[in-house]
């Protein structure tokens, strides 16, 4: 039990510390694909450090909610990182929340950020909040259907049990997971504000969603939000790995498998970041009102996954 708790803490800390690295790697890959010279891998860390040192500039009318939101968002993301099996499937904290609760945690962070964006009362803030909530209500049903598909296979919504079923039990091929995986990828791009739904590098008013919400933030608050964004990307990647390519995650109590699990994690994450950057480089951002079509495609794929499971796998 103590070992489990230590493992849990170590794993969560690892996620928090490594998250900006994944961001840096993705940015680097994207720069390569776009033919630019790439920033160093550690650029996100430098950015966060720089922001922490600055004085916070806050609008006159900001309410306490505005200053509280970044901490809340960061705490939610740290909690989410604690729920997902990253290197070891040894999570004493996981009974506190399952996959459905994970959706709830992401939703909590999002609602706080959206409310904080509306707090100052600039037109950009409300615009960002509205668009963010639009994307999220379209993405959430699809994400839940993805979780449903995996839960039907594992007969459980607990992430460690799902990993256990898929990775450490008898090997079986689940066609439904292919549909679910594509749907999950589409939803993740939307939820993490990536192309084709949002562009993380833009500050063009017509297109921005996430950036419009955090326009008023600066210094330590911005640093926390940027860190939380990186952590969200990391957690989503870890979630995708746990649901669809869980091989390599160390079973509970097996500490000998940890080095291999670390290697597997780094390899999978690097490949995932590369793929994300590649897809971002070759696709264009969608117009806002094409986003519902994109996300309903994701939803339909997830539903197809569920139906495939019932037709072929039961």
């Amino acid at each position: 039990m103590t070992a489990g708790i230590l493992m849990q803490l170590a794993q969560t800390l690892l996620a928090i510390l490594l998250a900006p690295l994944l961001m840096g790697w993705t940015n680097q890959c994207r720069a390569w694909f776009q033919g630019r010279s790439a920033p160093p891998l550690t650029q996100p860390y430098r950015m966060i450090r720089k922001l922490f040192h600055k004085d916070a500039v806050i609008a006159h009318d900001a309410s306490p909610l505005f200053r509280f939101a970044p901490y809340m968002v960061f705490a939610c993301m740290a909690l989410a990182a604690g729920i997902v099996p990253i290197v070891a499937n040894d999570l004493p904290f996981s009974p506190a929340a399952d996959a459905i609760a994970l959706v709830g945690v992401f939703a909590t962070a999002r609602v706080f950020l959206a409310l904080a964006a509306m707090d100052i009362g600039t037109s950009f803030g409300t615009l960002g909040a509205r668009r963010e909530m639009l994307v999220s209500f379209l993405a959430e049903p699809a994400l839940l259907m993805v979780f449903f598909t995996t839960s039907f296979i594992a007969q459980s919504t607990q992430l460690p049990v799902i990993v256990e079923t898929l990775a450490h039990k008898q090997f079986a091929i689940y066609p439904s997971l292919a549909f679910a995986a594509v749907a999950f990828w589409m939803v993740s791009t939307a939820e993490n504000a990536r192309i084709p739904v949002d562009n993380p590098t833009t500050h063009l008013e017509l297109t921005m969603i996430h950036e419009a919400m955090i326009l008023e933030y600066s210094a330590r608050h911005l640093a926390l939000i940027e860190w939380a964004v990186a952590l969200k990307l990391f957690t989503y990647s870890a979630l995708g790995i746990a649901l669809f390519i869980p091989w390599g995650i160390a079973p509970a109590g097996n500490y000998g498998a940890l080095p291999l699990a670390m290697l597997a994690l780094v390899g999978k994450m690097a490949a995932g970041g590369l793929l994300l950057a590649f897809l971002e480089a070759i696709s264009a951002k969608l117009r806002l009102f094409r986003v519902p079509e994109y996300l309903s495609t994701a939803f339909l794929l997830a539903v197809l996954g569920t139906l495939t499971h019932f037709l072929l796998e039961v």
């Binding site: 040192h53 609008a59 459905i100 009362g121 449903f148």
Partner: protein
Amino acid sequence: MTDAIPVDPGFTPLAGAWWIVLLWLVLAFAGLIFQRRPHLITHLIIPLGALGALGMALIGAAGLVEPVSRFVLPIGLPDLPFHLRLDALSAFFLILLGGAAFGVTLYASGYLRHMERGALALLSLWYHLFLAGMVMVMLADDAYAFMVAWELMALSSYFLVTTDHDIPDIRRAGFLYLLIAHVGAVSLLLCFGVLQGGGQIESYSFDAIRAAEPAPFWSSVAFLLALFGFGAKAGLVPLHVWLPEAHPAAPSPVSALMSGVMLKTAIYGLLRVSFDLLGTQASWWGILVLGLGLITAVYGVIFAAVQSDMKRLLAWSSIENIGVILVGIGLAMIFHTDGKGGLAALALTATLYHAINHAFFKGLLFIGTGAVLHATGTRLMGELGGVMRFMPWTAWLTLIGALAIAGLPPLNGFVSEWLLLQAFLLSPGLSQPYLNMVIPVAAASIALAAALAAYVMVKFFGVVFLGQPRDPNLKNAHEVCWPQRLGMIWLALGCILLGLMPAQVIGWIAPVVQQLIGQTLHNDGGWLMLAPVDANRASYAPLIFFLVVLAVLLLTFLAVRKLYHGRIRRSDPWDCGYPEQDARMQDSAEGFGQPIRQIFESFMRVERETPDPFDRHPKYRGDSRDNIWLLCYAPIARLAAWLSDQTGRLQHGRIQWYLVYSFATLIFLLVFTR
């Protein structure tokens, strides 16, 4: 039949409930007597009523553990006394009523202080009668007493809705409410008639109905009539049209009671008739309820998202929540008829949990809205904004309600949604083919409704409480007085505790589920954790969850402060190089709802008046009309008007013709009765 009251061995919870009903009746008329002394009403009578509500909640809690108690009241028609009965189902709904009504009534004692005194006395009269009526509905043990109580509740709430009857729109809303309430009541009357088998059973008491075994056809007819009658009260789509009109029209504490508690009496009635009296018989009942519930949930939340009047927005959101509750009932029926008692227990637990949650958060949101309405004088979100600065108590407490209704952990709305989704996840266990594939997919609609509810709540809270005041006069808004704050604190605490201690709440719900289904939900997780069916299958421990978030919050905060600094500079918000920003450039309520309007355009008829671009004082008006009103109700209204016109032809003011009518009638009667 003997009218003797059975000698009770002691003070039963039922007797206690009856005493509190008497207290409310006394208070109702005391308000009339002392109508010249408004202070007495607001400082003594209404707080006493609130204490009565608290007592009612305690009696409900006692009723859950005590054995069923009965009571015959020697009032009513000769040979037809009122039968009262307190069992677990009634007791649970008494807790719901008492818990929510305590907070709301406490709030009302502060809120009503500024009311004109004649109206205040009448309001106090109807308010207490309304409370008494709802309790009597839950206690009634025969069809006669049930209908009398149901009418008392409907009429008193009608008078409460039309408190401001000098406004034509409110009179119209009240009439619509009265009309649909009575169409529903007629349906219920027919339902009880069918249940009584057209006189085959001697008495109207529920015991006799329960013992009778009607033919399956008549059971189904009775069920459909009950669904129609209770659906009209609950706001089931397409019988919902009165709800977004009537709930906003009432004074805010009354809106809170109507949305939070009165809608639940319909849920109570549906559970009583379908599970207790009829003993769910056919699985298509469940499929019907499930389908209607899904439509209601999605329809309600879409319309909530496009509203620009804050009370109307909340009323539509109530429709959504009723839909979610009905989905739970439908699932429970399907599982129950399929012989899956454990799963039915899970679905029913989710239903009841959501019912009590909704009573608390919707009550909180309505009274929070009432506080804003009272301080600013407007319900239109487009004229509000930045209210949090002037009313921090109201804002923070309302925020708790908004987060809870948006289904965010670790508050209470999330728990019931989680349970419901777990029930959906278990539906592949059904033995009927196709059903076991379609129902899991139907869960996506619930997910959509929940996600849209978050959208609605960000809109509601963001536009009303955050941002810049859209009207300079808002700066004069003042915070509410202490009884009002206490009322809100009570309901907010309810939202938090119901969210953090689900294992205990499920323990309270267990006797009800046992009574209706004969099986309870097994919690595998102990006191800390919620783990229906099996801990390996799914579990949720909000307390741990909450503590971890709190710990991370504190650690991050301290770490950031210790390692760096806490320096802050204040400045103007960034103006994008355009220095003439003003409060009107924020999203209005219509603006925030625009994406929903665009995506779900086919559900509604949008009417818009866009201003002239050269207008110095542009006025924008946008209205999203309910298609169901235009497609179903408008033709009926036109038909009724046409029929009345035709009948009106008989009347042309010439006395000769009237004499001919009388003569013809006389002849007809003579021939007919010969």
